[in-house]
C-alpha cells in the first residue's frame, strides 16, 4: 500500500465494518431470532435488581434500613418523593452527598468554634450557607434534610409524604 492510498484503505475498513453491522441487524439477527436462538433486540437491559437470598453481614454503617438491601446501594437510583426513582440518576445522588457533606462541614466547623446555635449571627450565616448548598441541587432541594436537632449523620433521606 502506498502512502497515497491511505484514505482508500480507511474507506475500505469503514465499508467492511458497516456492511458487517448492517448484515448482522438486517439478515443474521432476524434468522437467529426466528430460530429462537437469541432474544429479540429491545435496546434496553431487562435486568431486575435481585434480592440476596441470605442477609449480608452486619456493618458499622448499618442504620435502620432493611437487612436485605440490593447490591451496590451506592449506585442505586434514590427514590424521589413522588415515588419515581428513574428521574434520580446515580450521579445526582453523588452530588447530593457532596452537597450534604459540604453543608455539614460548615455547620460542624461553627460548632467546633463554640458558636452557639439559634441566635448568633455566625450560626445564622452557617444556616444560610447550608440553604445555599441545598439550592445547588436545583429543583430537588427539598430532598435533602439535615436534622439539626440531633448530631448530624450525613444521611440523605426522602421527604415524608404529607
Amino acid at each position: 500500500m502506498s502512502g497515497d492510498a491511505w484514505l482508500a484503505t480507511i474507506w475500505i475498513y469503514l465499508v467492511a465494518f458497516g456492511a458487517a453491522g448492517v448484515l448482522w441487524f438486517r439478515a443474521v439477527r432476524p434468522i437467529l431470532e426466528a430460530l429462537g436462538w437469541i432474544a429479540p433486540y429491545t435496546g434496553d437491559d431487562d435486568y431486575v435488581t435481585p434480592t440476596p437470598s441470605t442477609p449480608r453481614a452486619a456493618s458499622p454503617f448499618d442504620t435502620n434500613e432493611p437487612a436485605n438491601e440490593p447490591p451496590n446501594e451506592w449506585l442505586q437510583p434514590v427514590l424521589m418523593p413522588n415515588g419515581d426513582s428513574s428521574v434520580f440518576p446515580d450521579s445526582f445522588a453523588l452530588l447530593a452527598v457532596l452537597v450534604e457533606a459540604e453543608a455539614l462541614s460548615v455547620t460542624r466547623a461553627y460548632e467546633l468554634l463554640g458558636v452557639s446555635r439559634g441566635s448568633s449571627a455566625a450560626y445564622k450565616e452557617a444556616q444560610q450557607r447550608l440553604a445555599a448548598a441545598r439550592l445547588k441541587v436545583s429543583g430537588n432541594s427539598q430532598f435533602l434534610e439535615l436534622d439539626n436537632e440531633r448530631k448530624p449523620t450525613g444521611r440523605i433521606v426522602g421527604r415524608k409524604k404529607s
Binding site: A5, W6, G18, V22, Y47, V48, V78, G154
Partner: protein
C-alpha cells in the same frame, strides 16, 4: 459519614458494574456503526474535494495543505455532499410510497459515488482489484454512509 437510600422497588432496573449484557453490547455496536457512518461521510467529503477536481486522493499531509490552500473547493465538497446526502435520504424515504423517487436516489448516489470513484478507485485498481469489487466498494460505501447514520 453513613449514607443510605430509600428502599428500591423490586421492579427497578439497575446497571451492574462489570457486567455487559447482550443488549448493551448491541447498543455499543450500533453507536460504533453510526460512528463508522459519520467516518464514511467525512472520507466522502475528502473524496469529493479531489473528485470535483478530477484528482485521486493524496497522502495525509498533502490533503491538509491542499484543503488549506483551496478553501472554496472544501466548501464546494461539503455542500455537494450535504445536498447529495439529503437527496439520498429524502428520496429513499419517499420511495416507500412512490417508486419513482428511487430515480432521484440513484442519481444522487451515482453523482456522489462518481466523485469518490475518481478519488479512490485508481488506488484500488492499482492494487489489482477487479473492477466489480471496486465498484461495489465505492458505490456501496457511499450508500452505506447514509444508511448507517440515519437508520
Amino acid at each position: 459519614m453513613a449514607t443510605t437510600s430509600r428502599e428500591i422497588p423490586s421492579t427497578t432496573k439497575a446497571r451492574r458494574i462489570g457486567v455487559l449484557s447482550g443488549d448493551r453490547a448491541e447498543v455499543g455496536l450500533i453507536w460504533m456503526l453510526r460512528a463508522a457512518g459519520v467516518g464514511l461521510v467525512g472520507v466522502s467529503v475528502v473524496g469529493s474535494f479531489y473528485g470535483l477536481r478530477g484528482l485521486a486522493c493524496s497522502p495525509p499531509v498533502t490533503i491538509l495543505f491542499d484543503m488549506l490552500a483551496r478553501p472554496w473547493w472544501v466548501v464546494a465538497a461539503f455542500v455537494a455532499q450535504a445536498v447529495l446526502s439529503l437527496a439520498q435520504w429524502g428520496a429513499r424515504h419517499r420511495a416507500a410510497r412512490d417508486a419513482r423517487w428511487w430515480g432521484l436516489f440513484a442519481g444522487a448516489l451515482l453523482i456522489s459515488a462518481g466523485m469518490n470513484w475518481v478519488a479512490f478507485a485508481p488506488h484500488l485498481l492499482a492494487w489489482g482489484w477487479p473492477l466489480i469489487p471496486v465498484a461495489l466498494t465505492v458505490i456501496g460505501g457511499d450508500a452505506l454512509a447514509e444508511i448507517l447514520v440515519i437508520s
